[in-house]
Symmetry: C2
Subunit: 383 residues, 2 copies
């Protein structure tokens, strides 16, 4: 096994696309740009590419840093890198910032060429399918016909599943972690609360706040607070915060008394300073809308029938946002299609957030899976 | 068994208290009024009184109607009435609207005699202990020294537990349903989101919106939406709404697409038309603060040591707001004190809301328990 070393500083690149992107809604996104970051080297036969799809609060910046600043470390740096479970000494890893994002790709804050103003409320609703199609064009540009693997967690896992159905011939392996075949009513309900918080913030201005020089910070902060509660398990919150008081005594008012309040407010404020409110609406709607079984009368087995990839699925015992049962639904539908599936339900106290954490059993499993892919593909450096 | 008949129309009464109510915060509530409603007849030796404590969105109006209007039916009408589990042919049932409420008792919308203006932001933070003390004064006024039972669900169950500890000699039986010895960090987190929604609504005006002729409707609606998600189980939402669309197709926007969104918005709007925003803050804070074990270094057994009542506790299998495990904590602490405890974990798909529903097994159990109390007390009409 190679020594684990750091990927170091990264430089994202921009790709401009002139051909409009047709969208599920019937609309289309005219000329647009996507930010892309890659790690490792694409091999001669272009067989070692792994696409990593990002979830809600993430981007193309999967691993490494910018300018040596630790605070810029990529969102899945513990998973992707030299000697890491997805080993960049063997794999060429691609991170793509999805359209609609606020981290560099064309999104609601970008200038709409038709008006010379930020897209704002006029940015079209994009879906998981739309993102996957946009990603496919990036792979075309990179000359990658077939992925060794597509991989993602949460909303990223939905994209990985979508790839396996929508571009089946281009996917050898699909790694979908802490995900679901669709959102439950409760999941949608939390998203709706988050969206209402943003939309009813007077600084939202119907989505066109850019022109007003304001940001709907309160609404965005509240949306993030709701999200955070659902990412953590009840147990994780209990052990991290419990009923601990910030100042040791009750204040008999509505300011911060408990540490959990302080933590949530801090998370909300931090997020509202870096994230775009319209992007938050778009991402939660993409989550709501993903439902491949819907076109098959609710039959997930029928929806997954076109998939030819081999699958690795993983879920976490205390994840109540995308509970293990939701992964099992996918596993059952794949098995009904006689697909090859590995599935692990991983003990973790960390709720949905576990998929981003360095849980040894989880990482060992992903490592073993990618070792096998490398072995099957006879990749250089395969052990 | 008596035929079940309706209590019919009720007339609440107002009780004025001139002596200030000392509060846990160190402040006190000056002269105040409470609204009280009673059902059945107090017997000669005043031994048949049952106090029913209300939870968040409820009041003194436990059962019966006003003006024959079905829409005014009391919040626990399926539990309290002639021939019902708490049988008003035998028991004298008392409902008291707690101070801080918006249903008639002195609260933030009442006039503060010191200023001639609504209390608003200056209304003192009240606790479960404060409410119980206020209720005790009402019982004094009614000449009731000792309760046959004190009873409540959720926040009402916390009051019932508090009675058993704080006024132990006045409680023969304590019936605490779907409750907890304190809120978890996750519970507090949801309350904090709800409060932030209200406080950041520009129409809140720091709590003094009355003078501005507005109501923070958006914030209050959002608070209610968050609450509703936590009252229902994931399964109940799935079976009631699933991913059903309101108009049969996706709208590719941020308006209502799913029936769950429509339901939540409707519940939020309805609530914001009848509830007071300051009361919502007060009630959620009273929930946050209740923690009898805190004064005993977290030892619930020590906190419950003074209680001499016999106990009935019940929880519901799909209640994730006040999960069965929280009731079991109370049961264990009572057993460690060698108290007499009956406990039932009731199968129900309805989440926390189950405590208000007509679940036969649950109602049969409460009925049997109150039959035994009547038998022990040799109450008239006891069967």
């Amino acid at each position: 096994m190679a020594l684990i070393s750091d990927l170091g500083d990264q430089t994202p690149s921009r790709m401009a696309f002139d051909a409009p992107l047709p969208l599920q809604s019937g609309a289309s996104l005219p000329a647009y740009e996507l930010v892309v970051e890659t790690y490792g080297r694409l091999n001669a036969d272009k067989s070692n590419a792994v696409l990593v799809c990002h979830a809600l609060n993430a981007s193309h910046h999967v691993a490494g840093t910018y300018g040596g600043d630790e605070k810029t470390r990529g969102w899945w740096d513990n998973m992707v890198g030299p000697g890491k479970p997805v080993d960049t000494d063997r794999y060429f890893v691609v991170g793509i910032n999805n359209p609609g994002s606020c981290f560099g790709s064309t999104g609601p804050a970008s200038i709409d060429p038709a008006t010379g103003q930020p897209w704002g409320s006029r940015f079209p609703v994009v879906t998981v399918e739309d993102w996957v199609d946009a990603q496919a064009r990036v792979l075309d540009r990179l000359g990658i016909e077939r992925l060794a693997a597509v991989m993602g967690g949460s909303l990223g896992g939905m994209q990985a599943l979508c790839w396996a159905m929508r571009h089946a011939a281009r996917v050898a392996h699909c790694v979908a972690i802490a995900t679901a075949p669709n959102l439950s009513a409760q999941n949608i309900a939390f998203n709706e609360v988050a969206r209402r918080a943003i939309i009813t913030d007077p600084d939202f201005h119907g989505g066109d706040f850019y022109a007003h020089g304001v940001v709907p910070r309160q609404g965005l902060a509240m949306a993030r607070m709701v999200g955070h509660i659902t990412y953590l398990s009840d147990d994780a919150m209990a052990s991290k915060f419990g009923r601990n008081l910030r100042n040791g005594e009750l204040g008999y008012g509505f300011d911060v008394d408990f540490q959990i309040e302080s933590y949530l407010r801090h998370q909300g404020e931090k997020f509202s300073g870096i994230f775009d409110a319209n992007t938050y609406l778009l991402l939660t709607r993409a989550l709501d809308y993903f439902d491949p079984a819907a076109a098959h009368g609710g039959d997930l087995t029928a929806a997954l029938a076109p998939a030819t990839a081999r699958f690795l699925l993983a879920s976490f015992t205390t994840d109540w946002r995308f509970a293990p049962e939701r992964s099992r639904e996918i596993v059952r539908a794949l098995l009904a299609n006689r697909r090859e599936v590995s599935y692990a339900e991983i003990e973790s106290p960390h709720g949905h957030d576990a998929f981003l954490m360095d849980e040894p059993h989880y990482h060992d499993m992903v490592r073993a899976y990618f070792d096998r892919i490398a072995h099957d593909l006879k990749l250089e450096g395969a052990r």
